[in-house]
C-alpha cells in the first residue's frame, strides 16, 4: 500500500513539473517587461 502511495506521489510530482516546464516553453506566450523612466525633457530645449 505504501509503495503504491509513494509511486502515485512520484507520478503526480513528475506530471506537475512536466506541466510547469511545458507551460514555460509554450511558443507564442507574450511577455511584457519594462519599467518607469523619469522624464526630464518635455520637448523644450
Amino acid at each position: 500500500m505504501n509503495i503504491l502511495r509513494r509511486a502515485l506521489a512520484a507520478i503526480m510530482t513528475a506530471a506537475a513539473v512536466a506541466g510547469a516546464l511545458s507551460f514555460q516553453k509554450e511558443p507564442g506566450v507574450e511577455k511584457r517587461t519594462g519599467g518607469w523612466k523619469k522624464l526630464s525633457n518635455f520637448g523644450i530645449e
Binding site: 517587461t33 518607469w36 523612466k37 522624464l39 518635455f42
Partner: protein, 331 residues
C-alpha cells in the same frame, strides 16, 4: 501683488509658502476657521503673511484667490470670488462640489472672471498628464486615471467617502455609473508606490477631463484602496485622519492611435499628494498673475496650459513625471 489663500491646511500652507518663496506675491492673506492652524502657519511663513480668522471680511481684497479649503466650503467661496470679480484658482476635490463649481461657468463668463478648476494632484496634475499623453497620439480614444494616497485630513475624508458613493465614468457618449469600491484592477504606479489594487470611486477627474476633451470616448478614474478602506467606507470615520498622509502617486493611461498603430501612453508621478497639489496650485496661480494664462471664463488646467511647459516648470519644483516604457518580447 496680494493673494488670498482660503484654507490653512496641508495644501493651503504649502501654496502660501511656494508663492512667497518664488516672490510671485508680496503678501499672502491666509484665511481659516481654525485659529490653531493659523497660528502655526503664521509662525512658519513669517511676516509677509496676514491671517484672517472667522468672521471673515466680505470683500476678498486680493489680486488672486486660491481656494484650498475642505470639501463642502469651496462652492460658496468660488461664488463669492466670481461676484467680486477676483481671478480664482480652485484646488477642487469632491465630485459633487466640483460639478456644482463647473455649473458656475455661466456666471464666470458673464462677469468675465478667470476661474481655474482642479489644480490639485488628481484632479489637476492628472489632467495635465492626460493632455501631455495626448500629444504622443494622432487620435485619443481612452483616458484612464488612477490615484493612490491622500494629503491632509480633508483629503483623507474625501478618499473615505469616495469609496461608498457612485463613480462616474464617460463611456460611449453617456455617463456610466459604477458602485464605489467595485471593479478591482491591479495597477502599477511609479516607485516607491508600485502595484496597488484600484477600484471605482466618486472622483472628479472624469468630469474635468470630459469637459476638456469631449471627443474622447472613454474616461474613467480609479483609486487605490485596501480591504479595510472598502469595508469601512460605509461608516463614519472611526479614527481621526492623519495630519498628512505618506507618499502617494497618480497614473494616467492614454490610449489611442498614432499613424494607424494602436498605442498606450502611461504617465505617472510619485509624490506626497499635498506637496504635489500645492506645487500645481502655486504654479497655476503664478501663471495667472504673470498672464501666462489668458482667460475670462471658467476652465480646467488641461485646456489652459501648454503641458510640456507646465510639466517642465513643475520639474523645477522637484515634481518628477515618469513614463512607463515596456518592451514586448516573445518567449
Amino acid at each position: 501683488m496680494r493673494a488670498l489663500v482660503i484654507g490653512a491646511g496641508a495644501v493651503g500652507t504649502k501654496v502660501a509658502q511656494q508663492l512667497l518663496s518664488s516672490n510671485a506675491v508680496d503678501k499672502i492673506i491666509l484665511r481659516d476657521t481654525s485659529s490653531e492652524k493659523l497660528v502655526l502657519a503664521s509662525k512658519n511663513l513669517g511676516s509677509r503673511v496676514e491671517v484672517e480668522h472667522f468672521p471673515f471680511s466680505q470683500n476678498m481684497d486680493a489680486d488672486v484667490v486660491v481656494v484650498a479649503s475642505p470639501e463642502g466650503t469651496q462652492l460658496e467661496e468660488v461664488k463669492n470670488a466670481i461676484t467680486l470679480k477676483r481671478p480664482t484658482v480652485v484646488v477642487s476635490d469632491g465630485l459633487s462640489e466640483t460639478v456644482s463649481i463647473l455649473n458656475l461657468g455661466k456666471e464666470a463668463s458673464e462677469f468675465g472672471v478667470p476661474v481655474v478648476v482642479g489644480t490639485g494632484f488628481a484632479p489637476g496634475l492628472s489632467c495635465v498628464l492626460a493632455a501631455y499623453g495626448k500629444t504622443f497620439l494622432n487620435e485619443t480614444e481612452e483616458i484612464h486615471v488612477s490615484k493612490m494616497g491622500t494629503g491632509g485630513p480633508a483629503c483623507a475624508l474625501v478618499h473615505h467617502r469616495a469609496l461608498s458613493r457612485m463613480s462616474f465614468g464617460w463611456r460611449e457618449n453617456k455617463w456610466d455609473k459604477r458602485l464605489g469600491g467595485s471593479g478591482r484592477e491591479l495597477l502599477w504606479f511609479p516607485e516607491p508606490v508600485g502595484p496597488q489594487d484600484c477600484y471605482h470611486a466618486a472622483l472628479s477627474d472624469p468630469m474635468l477631463l470630459h469637459n476638456a476633451f469631449p471627443g474622447v470616448a472613454r474616461i474613467s478614474a480609479k483609486m487605490a484602496a485596501t480591504r479595510r478602506d472598502r469595508f469601512t467606507a460605509f461608516f463614519p470615520m472611526l479614527t481621526p485622519p492623519h495630519n498628512e498622509g505618506g507618499i502617494g502617486a497618480i497614473r494616467v493611461e492614454v490610449r489611442g492611435s498614432k499613424n494607424g498603430v494602436q498605442e498606450n501612453i502611461v504617465l505617472g508621478v510619485s509624490e506626497y499628494p499635498a506637496l504635489a497639489a500645492a506645487s500645481v496650485t502655486a504654479l497655476t496661480t503664478e501663471y495667472l498673475l504673470k498672464h501666462k494664462i489668458s482667460l475670462n471664463h471658467m476652465s480646467t488646467l488641461a485646456l489652459l496650459v501648454k503641458p510640456s511647459e507646465f510639466l517642465s516648470d513643475l520639474a523645477a519644483r522637484s515634481i518628477v513625471v515618469e513614463i512607463f516604457e515596456g518592451d514586448r518580447t516573445t518567449v
